[in-house]
Subunit: 357 residues, 2 copies
């Protein structure tokens, strides 16, 4: 959208000045838009104001757009209150979209509500963790209901652009099914895998490698927050968990019966799933290869390694650092385009790095 | 063990010249030990020999130590044949330990068998992927049975040291329970999570973030190989999958009944599990914090970033590169000791990097 046709002129009211709300506010301020801040915590509003995220909302303020960024359990009521309060367009940043919509479905101003969900976050929370860059390059679902006012949708999409997010349009129902599949159910299965480690003997856990760390990482998230999110998406999550239960029973049956073909079928379905995840930059998955480098565990060593990779003109797609056991040595896995792996390997070796594939 | 008391003088026979076997052979050759190579594939033996991993075994050779590195389904028979063939100490590198032991439990020379399992591997296979450094700093389980000859155990542990692995002593039963918990069940749950993605609409998968990529990464592994491993550890895996099924039922019940406390309890157990995984270098988990940096997706940029972090004298504990959608910009997460995060953030910002926490 060109500057000349810019519709989002403000003020923007942000209700809930936590990580997401304050980050949206900072991005609006960066674009020169006036921001009004509202929170049940006066402390949060003061902090967000001090960070330059805007000023407390005052009586008589008439926002053009309201962004509701409150915890999942309060979304519906806050969106309804925002619609009650005036004729502003209202959006939210909640992780689930059908529940809040149902709460305002019969509201006379429902056409001005357009649900949103930026796929961004942090393990930190609160306004101090906020940044105008939080959404840069991240998908931001726009889950407009069929009766939403097209102008309202356009205004919310303009907000996403201003935050440097990438609009992904889905119906509220599709959004919730999508996040059940790509976020909620993977999280719950990670929690089940991690839960088996909680009471394990310590010497058993010494065999933990990178695989179990990757599988269980998300399970470290807040049970309170995540519990609210899952509860709010109960229908979609239960549908998929029912499938998971059926597959788990099939898996248990296959292992108990020593049925190698049935076991391989479950594993093969998993392989197909990993290949279905879109690649970096939303394109098809490009084949990658790993180059491993053993490095001493000290400041500066990764700098030298990446400098060497850069000199070889190889683009690093991903990096993993293996946490080894009992030694002050790290194993760094550089994931690169398959066609560049041999060149990188030779290049690093010629510079004296201890590499292998 | 001092050089003066070195007992492992060779020759070492390696049966199965794939990734693991050839890597063990290369580590032995690096230490100046004669290596004899055996494989059903003459091609593999030729390749491994050409890599400097040793020479084909000939009639009349009398190895001091035999390392069995064949696929899971052939382990028991190969170990038995190696015990039959002479008075060498025999070890293996299989992922499961009670099954192979049962296959030789009544063998007259069973005292000379000491099972082993290095926690190392690669997504590549075959001798060309091998390297003497594969085991450096990795845990290597030694699963000696109660009747094993202490001298035989010492010899195998000397092999681990020569490969720069870290010995973790466990009974065969404990080993198998440990890998069921830390490897096999997490892998199977990752497969179940990934399996749900296989038939998902493509626009749903556009909401995939780093979480689902981490949870499902291991599920990309070979169904054939992994199926053999899981089948060989059926008892321990089934025990844990029974627990998982019980917890899954509890989870489904909690969500269906909107019982927030019961849902939070399952999630809290997962949090406890993630905290139980030992930290880097086998010590307690140190608190870490993340610093995020937005970077253009081009060769050399990570080099400059890591150089800047090195100049700030901050040790990077882990790195993640977020795969974003539709933009040629990457988000790099630097995980550092919590006490160093603010310093790193300020230091990077002063050098012009676009950072946030």
């Amino acid at each position: 959208m060109s500057e000349g046709r810019r519709e989002l002129t403000g003020p923007v009211e942000v209700i809930g000045t936590g990580l997401l709300g304050t980050s949206v506010a900072l991005a609006c301020r960066r674009a020169g838009i006036e921001v009004l801040l509202t929170d049940v915590s006066a402390d949060h509003v003061r902090t967000a104001s001090a960070l330059g995220a805007g000023r407390p909302r005052a009586d008589g303020d008439r926002p053009q757009l309201v962004v509701v960024a409150v915890p999942p359990d309060h979304l519906g009521a806050s969106i309804a209150a925002a619609l009650d309060a005036g004729d502003a367009v209202v959006t939210d940043v909640g992780s689930v979209k059908t529940g809040p919509l149902a709460a305002v479905h019969d509201h006379p101003r429902v056409r001005r509500y357009v649900g949103g969900h930026p796929m961004a976050g942090s393990e930190r929370s609160g306004p101090l963790a906020a940044t105008a860059d939080l959404f840069e390059g991240r998908p931001w679902a726009i889950a407009a209901h069929p009766d939403a006012d097209p102008d309202a949708v356009g205004l919310v999409e303009e907000l996403v652009g201003l935050c440097a997010g990438v609009v992904v349009r889905l119906s509220p129902e599709d959004h919730d099914r999508a996040v059940a599949r790509t976020s909620h159910v993977p999280h719950l299965l990670a929690s089940l895998a991690a839960g088996r480690l909680a009471d394990a003997p310590a010497d058993h856990l010494r065999l933990s490698g990178q695989g179990v760390r990757d599988v269980t990482r998300v399970a470290a998230g807040s049970p309170q927050l995540y519990g609210q999110i899952v509860a709010a998406n109960a229908a979609a999550v239960l549908g998929l968990l029912g499938e998971v239960r059926g597959e788990l029973d099939a898996l248990i049956g296959a292992i108990a019966a020593a049925d190698g073909d049935a076991l391989a079928a479950v594993l093969q379905q998993g392989v197909a799933g990993t290949l279905a995840i879109p690649g970096k930059h939303g394109g098809p998955v490009r084949p990658t290869a790993s180059v491993f480098v053993s490095v001493p565990d000290e400041p500066g060593v990764l700098a030298r390694l990446f400098l060497a990779a850069g000199e070889a003109e190889v683009n690093i797609e991903d990096v993993r650092i293996d946490h080894d056991l009992g030694r002050q040595v790290g194993l760094v896995e550089l994931i690169v385009d398959e066609s560049r792996a041999d060149h990188l390997l030779a290049s690093l070796e010629s510079r004296g790095w201890l590499t292998h594939r």
